[in-house]
Symmetry: C2
DNA sequence: TCTCGGCTACTCGAAATCGAGTATTAGCTT
DNA sequence: AAGCTAATACTCGATTTCGAGTAGCCGAGA
């Protein structure tokens, strides 16, 4: 909620890494990868170096030495400062204790579901399910091998969360596809019929909204007042 | 997967809105809000106008008229082009059919769980649960009122997904807090003891990792080889 | 009649973001 | 001994992103 001087989550990972021991940026990146933290925090070289520079500028980390090996690029080793430790703790406090609004791709897509005919949507949802199942299997495999080597779960709880969320998403999509197929989803009769009219009569989708009763009958009178202008029809704004 | 000429999800919402009827940017923003789409797609004025400009530059939308009301700022009304319709469809196809890697705040926080003592973590998780419960109640309330006015679910499935994900997160956090409290979570004995040592002996957390056997006994020999330098628990399969 | 806050409709620029590119070396094969 | 690939360790700059600012209009109340 507080606006951080350096807001990129990668900066949080940098602070967390340097809290352990001094390192140079590239070393941080390899460490994050070797521990699989790059699956939880987006790592990208461009951002890494600019984030390190920003952290230094704000006094959260400081360069402790610059090594040169032959003609290779310099490696600047950084260490965390006291201010940096505080920032890291404050940040972790926020990440764990305060849920932030987040936006997912699927949610964005679902928001425009009626823009495609039902059958096309079902087809795409099936495709997503297949991909999700593969991803779930992969994560479960990774968990199995971590358990096999007795690597304690405290060190990979974040992966368990990811798995739980993937499973929920898969279940949701499966259920949704099923409800669309069976027309159980309220509104889908209207949706399906609308697309049939568009195809058979050759009219534009937008026209359906202009005179729904004409195309769908009295049952759909609500359409005139409601979508697309949900909640705030022209004449009088509804209380939400 | 394809890199879009305009990648901001808000651009997707703009295309979706203009597919319905021509509008000026500010009108798009109010429409998105009135329909609650701004809960699924991040809306911000700065981005809105730059995204509209970018869409126009790439021929996905075009200005159809410029209105002036008294001395108010001009309102430029845009319409979608044929290329824009295709882009929108392609984008929707991808959003629905292809899961993309996403990063959540909580996942980032969990990745650094051991950086705080167990009791502090439990406290923060409890705090998150409270906040999540409030959010869940709010979403459920919104659903109830949409059902009350018989607003068909097809138009708000995205909100159902959000609810499902929030519930999963809440369940996960509750379970995690419970397992930490009871030391059921593997590794948490080590974790708890480590922090006790840090506090009673006054040594630094990093030192524990240097000679774990000394502080924890033979049981923790695995520590030397494993974390923080986890070998490669996930020998990434290279499919494509 | 005045004024005050809220809505309308954008504008601006500093900062962040990201992927692709670069240059060096180590280790391996042929 | 030459060539090749992979790894190392960054650099660059074109976009993007975003929050804060601005300025006119409108209606309600004092």
């Amino acid at each position: 909620m507080v606006k951080r001087k350096v807001a990129n989550p990668l900066a949080f990972a940098v602070l967390g890494s340097l809290a352990e021991r001094p390192m140079h940026p590239y070393e941080i990146s390899t460490m994050l990868k070797s521990r699989g933290k790059d699956l939880s925090i987006k790592l990208n070289y461009g951002s890494l170096y600019s984030v390190v520079a920003a952290l230094e500028k704000h006094g959260f980390i400081e360069a402790v030495e610059t090594l040169r090996d032959g003609n290779r690029p310099e490696r600047t080793v950084y260490d965390i400062t006291e201010a940096g430790r505080l920032e890291f703790q404050d940040w972790l406090t926020e990440l764990l204790g305060t849920p932030e609004k987040e936006f997912s791709q699927l949610e964005a897509g679902l928001a425009y579901l009626p823009a495609f005919p039902p059958d096309r949507v079902v087809e795409l949802l099936d495709q997503r399910i297949t991909a999700l199942e593969a991803e779930i299997a992969e994560v479960e495999g990774a968990h199995a091998s971590m358990e096999a080597i007795k690597f304690p779960r405290v060190f990979w709880v974040e992966s368990e969360l990811r798995l739980a969320l993937l499973k929920t998403q898969a279940d949701f999509v499966r259920q949704l596809a099923k409800e669309i197929r069976s027309d159980e989803l309220e509104g889908s009769v209207f949706w399906r019929k609308g697309y049939e009219l568009v195809e058979t009569l050759g009219i534009k989708p937008a026209d359906l909204f202009k005179d729904p009763v004409k195309y769908f009958g009295e049952e759909f009178t609500w359409m005139q007042a409601m979508p697309p202008e949900v909640g705030a029809p022209e004449p009088k704004p509804e209380p939400k």
